[in-house]
């Protein structure tokens, strides 16, 4: 096992292959996430981005290859070690995944109460600080059902940074947000990354927002990494599928039509 101090990469994914049932979702993936950086994993829906995130979080185990976080092979950790490592990770789910039976305050307090055993007055102060950081201290007593989509996402963000994680993972943080909430969320992700000294992985297909935000981009297609580079390199890239993705062209290497029998024959068929 490698020493965590000697490697400058917080996350290393090496030759990882993964399949659901017999369908191969990831094929021989290699990527590294350097410490302190914000890295985007982009690609079309269904290309295996979220699966990759789950592999890094240890929720799935690769068929082949190795996933290392802070120098530790996550697929070889025992249950207790995995949970100990997860305390240093934060994950923001696509729609927030707030606990619907608890107020915003209790949601953010949840990881602290579960893991720290700190006295309640101290937890209160810490929760208010986290909510202040996402601008929702005033919404502490609201229930998740009373929050808008963007607000719920921010409360979930406050919850995922409750224990000051070293690694933050964002699963489609921009989906379904209005332009204002989208801008706020983007800024927050960058600010939290820099002020916490954390490392961020952002899985998204929101090109414009992600290219503004991150230090490095991995572009995935059909379970493979097709291209990687800085945002500037991505914009300038001659890679055709990537161009289609970045500039949102309807047809190109990625076809508009899902594979089907010939149209004429299909219509004439009984």
């Amino acid at each position: 096992m490698r020493d965590a101090v000697t490697t400058s990469n917080l996350v290393e994914v090496e030759n990882v292959t993964f399949s659901y049932d017999r369908r191969e979702v990831l094929k021989d993936i290699n990527l590294v996430i350097p410490r302190g950086k914000a890295v985007a994993i982009m690609g079309l829906s269904g290309c295996g981005k979220t699966t990759l995130l789950r592999l890094i979080g240890g929720a799935l185990i690769p068929d082949k290859g190795e996933v290392r976080v802070a120098g530790r092979a996550i697929n070889r950790l025992g249950y207790d070690e995995l949970f100990a490592l997860r305390r240093k990770m934060g994950m923001l789910f696509q729609f927030g995944a707030l606990f619907t039976d608890m107020s915003s305050f209790d949601n953010v307090a949840f990881p602290m109460r579960e893991h720290t055993g700190l006295p309640e007055p101290l937890i209160r102060d810490m929760v208010l600080m986290k909510l202040q950081a996402v601008g929702l201290r005033g919404a502490a007593d609201l229930m998740p059902a009373e929050l808008s989509g963007g607000m719920a996402r921010r409360v979930a963000l406050a919850r995922s940074i409750a224990l000051d994680p070293m690694l933050m993972m964002y699963d489609e943080p921009f989906t379904g947000l209005d332009p204002v909430s989208l801008g706020i969320t983007g800024q927050l992700i960058r600010r939290l990354n820099d002020s916490l000294g954390a490392t961020s992985i952002i899985v998204t297909h929101d090109v414009a927002e992600a290219l503004e935000l991150v230090d490095y981009v991995y572009y995935m297609s059909a379970g493979k990494i097709e291209f990687h580079g800085t945002p500037g390199e991505v914009r300038a890239a001659g890679h055709q599928a990537l161009r289609q993705f970045v500039y949102g062209e309807p047809d190109g290497p990625v076809p508009f039509h899902y594979p089907a029998p010939e149209y004429r024959l299909d219509l004439l068929a009984q």
């Binding site: 979080g57 929720a59 949970f83 100990a84 997860r86 305390r87 990770m89 994950m91 789910f93 696509q94 729609f95 995944a97 707030l98 606990f99 619907t100 949840f110 990881p111 579960e114 893991h115 979930a156 995922s160």
Partner: protein
């Protein structure tokens, strides 16, 4: 012909193995995990108390009202039969024995399955569908310890208490109809009941039944919720399955337990 029969048998076998035996094995492992992770439910008992409120306290109205009506009907029907044999004073015995040994645990169990069991399944299933369980796991909190076990123990604790309250309400209903309305002698109603109902043979056996039903119903409810496909149909199907499977389990277990407790004297 023989080949068709063979194919039919094979299809039947596959269905039985896949739908029943495989699931039963899976559910048993789930129960074992729940028991293993039950420490939190008792160390932080307020988690379990909260679930007792949702499963037990909120079921009180339906349990008490149903108990009262079942008891009143027993009073009417029992009197009607007993008076033919000139033994209407035995009404108290009839009402209390039917309730404590049979109707209390069984009817309270069926009501508990449809009131609390369905709610537990739907809640856990929706938590899964909205990724709340995954989020918990990513926060290094085990959902089986934090969500499933407290609900399981809340059901196991609530069920015997609800069955006891059902029986008590039923006896009161029988008293209202038999003594107050029809005019059976009050002294013999209570004294015959006191003489005929045995604590160990009748009451304790009833409590054992309701405890077993509590385990069965809550086990089915938490498992179906946890195992539900994370979609709208998935959760609604799981909720229906909880009520159907739990009700059948109660009736089947009731027969087995009654047979085991049967003295034949």
């Amino acid at each position: 012909m023989m080949r068709r029969v063979g194919e039919l048998l094979r299809a039947l076998g596959t269905r039985v193995v896949d739908n029943w035996i495989w699931r039963l094995g899976f559910a048993s492992r789930f129960l074992w995990l729940t028991l293993k992770e039950s420490g939190t439910s008792f160390r932080r008992f307020h988690l379990t108390v909260r679930e007792i409120y949702f499963a037990g306290v909120l079921s009180l109205i339906i349990i008490l009202v149903s108990g009262l009506f079942v008891g009143m009907v027993l009073g009417l029907q029992g009197y009607d039969t007993l008076v033919r044999y000139g033994s209407s004073e035995a009404l108290g015995v009839l009402v209390s024995l039917s309730l404590v040994r049979e109707l209390g645990p069984v009817v309270a169990g069926l009501l508990f399955a449809s009131r609390a069991g369905s709610a537990i399944t739907a809640e856990i299933g929706l938590m899964k569908a909205t990724e709340q369980l995954s989020a918990m796991e990513m926060m290094a909190v085990d959902p089986i310890a934090r969500v499933v076990a407290p609900r399981f123990w809340a059901g196991v604790i609530s069920m015997p208490l609800l069955a006891a309250l059902f029986s008590a309400m039923g006896v009161f209903g029988g008293y209202l109809v038999g003594v107050r309305l029809i005019g059976v002698d009050e002294g013999s109603f209570w004294s015959q009941m006191q003489a005929a109902v045995d604590f160990r043979e009748d009451i304790l056996n009833g409590v054992i039944k309701s405890l077993v039903f509590g385990v069965a119903v809550t086990w089915i409810a938490v498992f179906e919720g946890y195992d539900a496909p994370p979609t709208a149909e998935g959760v609604s199907g799981a909720t229906t399955r909880t009520v159907v499977t739990a009700s059948l389990a109660i009736l089947a277990l009731d027969f087995v337990l009654t047979a085991l407790m049967f003295r034949g004297s």
